[in-house]
């Protein structure tokens, strides 16, 4: 029997006090499509970086073709045929497609001079290998995401890889583009190249992979041929949580004035005739594939898309949401998708992060009332159960879950009417996740807060929403009470749309 392509044995890796990986073992066979699943923050990226030689493990060993490799660095990894396609593709936007395709080949050949004829030939060859159409003279920054991805794949194939690692390759793709990508991946496999597909999306894993490894909190929690898994078991492995069947019920008066009443909301190219109602105390889930318009809808309601057509009523009164400030004044709060780049002020204190939107309210003549500010921040820290002794610690010292509580707490200080959560528990550990869900349900039930919850995580929607709206290509395709649907039905619906 030949040795597997790559084998990790008992890998451990720590950063400062944080254990990113612990006793992780993983085997990838030749020409195998292997799926590495795990939620954000589970240690997936660290593992990729260990395999590609970016980081050296603290414990354990790496074997390639049965040979133990010590001190694997990026160059050595590439020489052994490991190629990584990062989520950001690592392309050079300021250079042409042809040059992007040829650069790494030229580098590996240790060339000192560039012959543009050769660059052209290499690029043509790369294009032929992948069998797709690409404008070689276009600047990469002018390409759409799917085009950039093809360039990244074509570039990786040029170095005759034996293992292609793809980090969340479908994140920014539409359903059709995902299908096209899968065709490319299968084609790559047919040439004997192994693919490590890193993802947290159920459907894709089941569709494309042969073997699955699930990691959670830096350890392998499940592994085996894909036939041994179904969506439920993968979810349980990833979240470490039985799906609670309690659900959220809303039985407010149907005739009451809706908190939010959107009709005919249209933004050309993004949203098409969206109509949507949220009653006080309702938690409405928004589902849909990427590019379905769900983030665009959230941004429009938050005043970040000033040029929209259609009508938005809040508490029965017309509202023109043409700036973030106006949306906030109408009681709309938005917890963005990417906590680190859009939500937090990382080097600032917890207090300042918490008070960011309340400073205007807490000041008179521009001067912030220090005592009241401190009091409110401290109150919210307690309210949201944020694990910190005081609010003057930097927010970076908190875990992902606690950081998310800070961002949610920031809005609660503003006494919002409608809370829009985009991926409320992305990158949040299991325990904290349940706590955040509990808090959201409590706010809706007790304070009559309306909630719009956008999520990729279907169990999250099914468990916490009383109604789920599915968007596709900027339109509402269904609006169903949760009681009348299930995770499986939703998943099927989304699959059919893809």
């Amino acid at each position: 029997m030949t040795a597997p392509l790559i084998e990790l044995r008992h890998i451990g890796k720590s950063f400062a006090a944080v254990r990113a990986l612990q006793d992780v073992s993983l085997t990838i066979g030749r020409g195998e499509i292997h799926c590495l699943a795990g939620e954000n923050g589970s240690g997936k990226s660290t593992l990729i970086k260990v395999i590609s030689g970016v980081w050296q493990p603290d414990q354990g060993e790496i074997l390639i073709d049965g040979q133990k490799i010590s001190g694997l660095d990026p160059r050595a990894a590439i020489a052994h045929g490991v190629q990584v396609i990062y989520q950001d593709f690592s392309l050079f936007g300021n250079l042409t497609v042809a040059e992007n395709l040829a650069l790494s080949t030229e580098l590996q050949a240790k060339r000192k001079l560039v012959s543009w004829g050769r660059v052209r030939r290499i690029a043509e060859e790369a294009k032929r290998k992948l069998g797709v159409e690409l404008d070689l003279d276009a600047l990469v920054e002018t390409l759409p995401t799917a085009g950039k991805q093809l360039v990244a794949i074509a570039r990786a194939l040029m170095s005759d890889p034996r293992l292609l690692i793809m980090d969340e390759p479908t994140t920014a793709l539409t359903g059709r583009e995902v299908e096209a990508l899968f065709r490319v991946v299968r084609d790559i496999q047919s040439r004997g190249i192994a693919v490590l597909f890193v993802s947290h999306k159920m459907r894709e894993m089941l569709d494309i992979s042969e073997t699955l490894t699930v990691i959670r909190s830096g350890t392998v929690v499940a592994a085996g041929p894909i036939s041994q898994f179904d969506e439920g078991s993968i979810t349980r492995a990833m979240t470490g949580q039985e799906i609670a069947a309690e659900g959220y019920r809303w039985d407010g008066p149907a005739g009451a004035t809706p908190l939010l009443d959107v009709s005919g909301l249209t933004i050309p190219g993004q949203l098409e005739d969206i109509s949507l109602r949220v009653m006080p105390g309702e938690i409405v889930g928004i589902s849909g594939l990427l590019g379905s318009g769900r983030t665009e809808l959230a941004l429009a309601l938050f005043g970040m898309q000033p040029r929209y057509d259609g009508q938005i009523r809040i508490d029965g009164k017309d509202a023109r949401l043409d700036s973030v400030q106006r949306a906030i004044a109408h009681g709309i709060a938005y917890v963005p998708e990417d906590r680190l780049t859009e939500g937090l002020f990382l080097t600032q204190t917890i207090d300042r992060n918490m008070l960011a939107t309340s400073l205007g309210r807490l000041s008179r003549g521009g001067v912030v009332h220090g005592g009241r500010a401190a009091q409110e921040a401290a109150g919210m820290i307690q309210d949201m159960a944020i694990a910190t002794p005081t609010g003057d610690r930097p927010v970076t010292q908190l875990s992902g879950g606690n950081q998310q509580r800070v961002v949610i707490g920031r809005w609660l200080l503003n006494d919002p009417r409608l809370l829009i959560l985009n991926g409320p528990t992305v990158g949040v550990d299991v325990g904290s996740k349940a706590g955040i869900h509990r808090k959201i349900r409590e706010l809706a039930r007790e304070r009559g807060l309306g909630v719009l919850m956008i999520s990729d995580d279907l169990p999250e929607l099914v468990d916490n929403c009383n109604r789920i709206v599915v968007l596709h290509r900027g339109r509402v395709v269904s609006d169903t009470p949760t009681a009348a649907t299930s995770e499986a039905m939703l998943s099927e619906q989304l699959g059919a749309l893809a």
Binding site: Y334, G343, L344, F345, L346
Partner: protein, 330 residues
């Protein structure tokens, strides 16, 4: 007791380091050259010279707080006092040599002109940076040239000399036995300190500098806030200009050119993060004192001004190295 230790612990380690540095420089200078360095005259002259530089450093810090920089501060300072000087010459021309005795309202109007110049110049920077989205470095290099160029066009090169006596008082006078420039500096920096730490505007500036995108998502008016920060920077620069021309009784297009680097240096040494989000007025004060002690100490020891420049440049590089080392340790 515990309250005090807690309070002490909360003080930025950076400030403690600065304090230590200041004490070390003082002690070093005093030990090397006690009879010349430990004279009241030395400290008195610092209280007249340091304020203008301190104000420019605060201006620089305010710009850096949002991740920008203002390389036009010197141009703004000079333009402000040249315009004021030309105003005095225009209204004082009939008086002939009696120009020095221009009455208070006229001098106040001159101050108003200088301040307005600074605010408008700052607004030009702010518009370029927030509306046209020009990078602060290039925008302020460009406007700095334009402001200095206007100075040249207005004066034709030579200095505007002869300011009213009252104007001179701002740069040279004393009140209650304290140098007027120092009083101006203390008052202005206290105001800026209050603005940055106790008002929504100031805290918003730090938040925007930390993460502009998150600031937008938190509902802050980022464009408007950044715009006003450059207006403030311009205003501070014009006050520095007033002090400078008051002290020298002259205004010229190329005065204070070496102040640009020194202002950046003090700002960086004071712990301001040029990438945005961190900066403190107290830090600027300490860094200013440390460097003024250093340079006047060196001058006592007959070091030429150029050597002092060399040491200042070296200090800037050293403080970069220190900051890098601190980050690595953390």
């Amino acid at each position: 007791m515990t309250a005090i230790t807690q309070r002490l612990r909360r003080i930025d380690t950076n400030l403690l380091q600065l304090l230590l540095l200041t004490v070390l420089i003082f002690a070093g200078m005093a030990a090397m050259n006690p009879e010349r360095f430990l004279r009241p005259y030395v400290f008195e002259s610092i209280t007249f010279i340091a304020p203008e530089l301190g104000l420019l450093a605060i201006a620089m810090m305010v710009a850096m707080l949002t991740g920008g920089i203002d390389l036009s501060v010197i141009g703004i300072a000079n333009l402000s006092c040249i315009l004021a000087g030309m105003f005095f010459h225009a209204v004082g021309a009939p008086r002939g040599p009696d120009l020095v005795n221009l009455p208070l309202p006229m001098v106040a109007a001159g101050i108003g002109i200088a301040l307005a110049t600074g605010l408008i110049a700052g607004a030009v920077n702010g518009l370029l940076i927030t509306r046209l989205r020009v990078t602060p470095i290039l925008a302020t290099i460009g406007t700095g040239q334009v402001f200095t160029g206007i100075c040249l066009v207005l004066t034709g090169g030579p200095a505007v000399v002869g300011f009213p006596k009252l104007w001179g008082q701002i740069g040279n006078g004393t009140a209650f036995g304290i140098a007027v420039p120092l009083i101006v500096f203390l008052v202005v920096s206290a105001l800026v300190w209050f603005l940055l730490t106790r008002t929504a505007f100031g805290i918003n500036l730090a938040l925007i500098g930390t993460n502009a995108k998150a600031a937008t998502f938190a509902g802050l008016r980022t464009g408007r806030t950044v715009f006003f920060s450059y207006v403030l920077t311009g205003g501070l620069a014009s006050i520095a200009g007033i002090l400078l021309s008051g002290r020298t009784n002259a205004a010229k297009s190329d005065y204070g050119v070496s102040y640009l680097l020194q202002a950046v240096l003090i700002s960086v040494l004071a712990g301001t993060n040029p990438a945005g989000g961190r900066g403190s007025v107290v830090g600027i004060g300490l860094a200013l004192v440390a460097l003024m002690l250093l340079s006047s100490g060196l001058q006592m020891m007959r070091f030429s001004n150029f050597l002092v420049d060399l040491i200042w440049g070296g200090f800037l590089l050293l403080s970069i190295a220190l900051a890098a080392w601190r980050n690595r340790v953390r």
